[in-house]
């Protein structure tokens, strides 16, 4: 596991320089950069060792080395299905961003709307998404559309809640500063509300994009003829457990890649929020 990148904030410069100095063997930034790789590598090495030492059956738990081999053997099929999953995930996620941002602003800026809409939203969020896939299949047929919709449904909620929270928690004094200048509601929203909600929004994107993967794959495993989820179901039907694990590995890698993309965007766009301890989430 790597340290959670969003919430690890640098100490204020003052505290950092006040600390007594000891010459480290490896510089701190380098340690920060290599630790995730070391931990990940150790994880797979340990896995390999356990499989070899305890003679674990490939059918139960394949060795990482076997998984990698399988990955290369089924390279064309995996790529095609991974791209399909990536496609449904990103389309569903894009919808989730649009709808989540819009509803979050509506709900955050207008407390009565918040009040009215919240129970419905919480209820929707509590429904296991796997349960709605059959309904989606009846509506749209097997394939791409249910996967997109499941990815959307599962990932828009954290975006909406975060944006709403960012807007609803504006310090009353900040609002007063603008109101005393005669600012209109939309001016307060534009000058304070939206910029202030941005760190919440970008923090939610990282979580939401990984959720969107889960949504897509759940839909693909239940009802699809394409995608990594389908590939894994098909492989397990053939008792090719190694290929199932290869699929899982690909999903994990895509998840990490997307997470990192949005973590990077977050750091660039909302650098001002990652300074002290002021962010709540």
């Amino acid at each position: 596991m790597k340290p959670p990148p969003t919430f690890a904030r640098p100490l204020p410069a003052k505290e950092r320089t006040d600390r007594p100095r000891r010459a480290p063997l490896v510089s701190a930034p380098l340690v920060r950069r290599i630790t995730p790789w070391l931990v990940t590598a150790s994880f797979f090495i340990l896995w390999e060792i356990v499989c070899v030492v305890f003679h674990v059956d490939t059918f139960i738990l394949p060795k990482p080395s076997q998984i990698v081999v399988s990955l290369f053997q089924h390279y064309p099929a995996i790529t095609a299905n991974a791209l399909q999953t990536l496609y449904t995930t990103l389309v569903g996620f894009a919808l989730a961003v649009a709808v989540g941002l819009f509803l979050g602003m509506l709900v955050g800026a207008m407390p009565p709307v918040y009040n009215g809409i919240y129970p419905v939203m919480v209820g929707l969020n509590a429904i296991p998404k796997v349960a709605i896939v059959p309904i989606l299949v009846i509506w749209f047929g097997i394939g791409t559309v249910p996967a997109i919709i499941t990815a959307f449904v599962i990932s828009f909620f954290p975006i909406m809640v975060n944006v709403a929270t960012g807007l609803a928690t504006i310090e009353p004094e900040m609002r007063d500063v603008l109101r005393s200048l005669g600012a209109r509601r939309w001016q307060i929203l534009r000058k304070v509300g939206i910029p202030r909600a941005m760190p919440y929004f970008f923090a939610s994107l990282k979580v939401a994009v990984t959720l969107a993967f889960i949504g897509s794959i759940v839909a693909e495993t239940v009802a699809s003829d394409r995608g990594i989820g389908y590939l894994m179901i098909a492989a397990s039907a053939r008792f090719d457990i190694t290929l199932v694990f290869a699929g899982l590995l690909v999903v994990a890698l895509m998840g990490i890649a997307m997470y990192e993309v949005f973590a990077y965007v977050e750091r660039r766009v909302t650098f001002w929020a990652t300074r002290g301890n002021e962010m709540l989430t």
Binding site: E173, S180, Q187, K191, R196, T270, W272, R275, G276
Partner: protein, 261 residues
């Protein structure tokens, strides 16, 4: 310009928070008249509705009873001729010091409609103001890169950039250490002498009130009522030396005795 004798007038004004039957009275039956360009301080125990008085004058909160008149007009909604500064600097963390100071010009007319066109001119004005409070060279720093005292300096600039006729200060130096606070008294005094806005300063630092104000009002515990009004005659500009003079100490002592705590 002719200075109004009665620029801000409160007549039997009361203010309450909460709804109908659970109302909490914060200000009760306050009357005062403030000249244009006068610097008044409002002191009193905490929770006595001092900040509420600022909300009343700025129009952020309506009066329950009585009248609030600013510049000859009854206040019913936020008036845009005032600048405010609070104990927390409330600077926007995603804007540099300079952009924070420019904020009021993006909202208040007549600046807002010409903001794009005359931005260069406004930026120069903001830089000048920041320089005058000793923040030259810090224009592009973000608020979290500034010390508490610097943030308050920037906050004062933001409150003054649109040349408001009333400056409302809610314990602006309350969170600062004693030395920084005394520095900022001098900064505020010279800004006031230069621009002469009407100032209402809420504080519970009696020395601060006596150093800065022309007139000091003492408020009772909640609900706030005005229990005394004291004129401060010390010559301007006042300095730290002033605060060690026996008359000054006697004045502060006299104020202290009027505060029920």
């Amino acid at each position: 310009m002719h200075k109004l004798e009665s620029f801000v007038r409160l007549a039997n004004a009361s203010l309450a928070y909460g709804v109908e039957d659970k109302e909490v009275l914060a200000i009760d039956d306050v009357s005062m008249t403030i000249r244009e360009g006068e610097f008044i301080a409002l002191v009193g125990p905490s929770g006595c509705g001092k900040s509420s008085l600022l909300k009343l004058v700025s129009g952020l909160h309506p009066a329950l009873r009585g009248e609030v008149i600013v510049d000859g007009r009854q206040v019913t909604s936020p008036i845009s001729i005032c600048g405010m500064a609070f104990q927390n600097s409330t600077l926007l963390p995603w804007r540099s010091a300079l952009d924070n100071v420019l904020l009021p010009l993006e909202i208040v007319e007549p600046y807002a409609s010409s903001f794009r066109r005359r931005k260069g001119e406004y930026v120069e004005r903001a830089r000048g103001l920041l320089r005058s409070v000793g923040l030259a060279g810090f224009e592009d720093k973000y608020p979290w890169e500034l010390s508490g005292g610097m943030q308050q300096r920037a906050s004062l600039c933001r409150a003054l950039i649109h040349e408001p006729r009333i400056l409302l200060l809610d314990e602006p130096f309350g969170a600062l250490d004693a030395f920084t606070r005394e520095d900022l008294w001098a900064v505020l005094q010279s800004l006031w002498i230069e621009k002469r806005p009407t100032v209402i300063l809420v504080t519970h630092d009696l020395r601060e009130a006596a150093y800065l104000a022309d007139t000091i009002y003492v408020s009772s515990p909640r609900p706030g009522r005005i229990v005394s009004r004291t004129e401060v005659e010390f010559a301007r500009p006042r300095t730290l030396e002033t605060t060690y003079a026996p008359e000054f100490i006697a004045k502060v002592h006299g104020l202290r005795e009027r505060i029920a705590h």
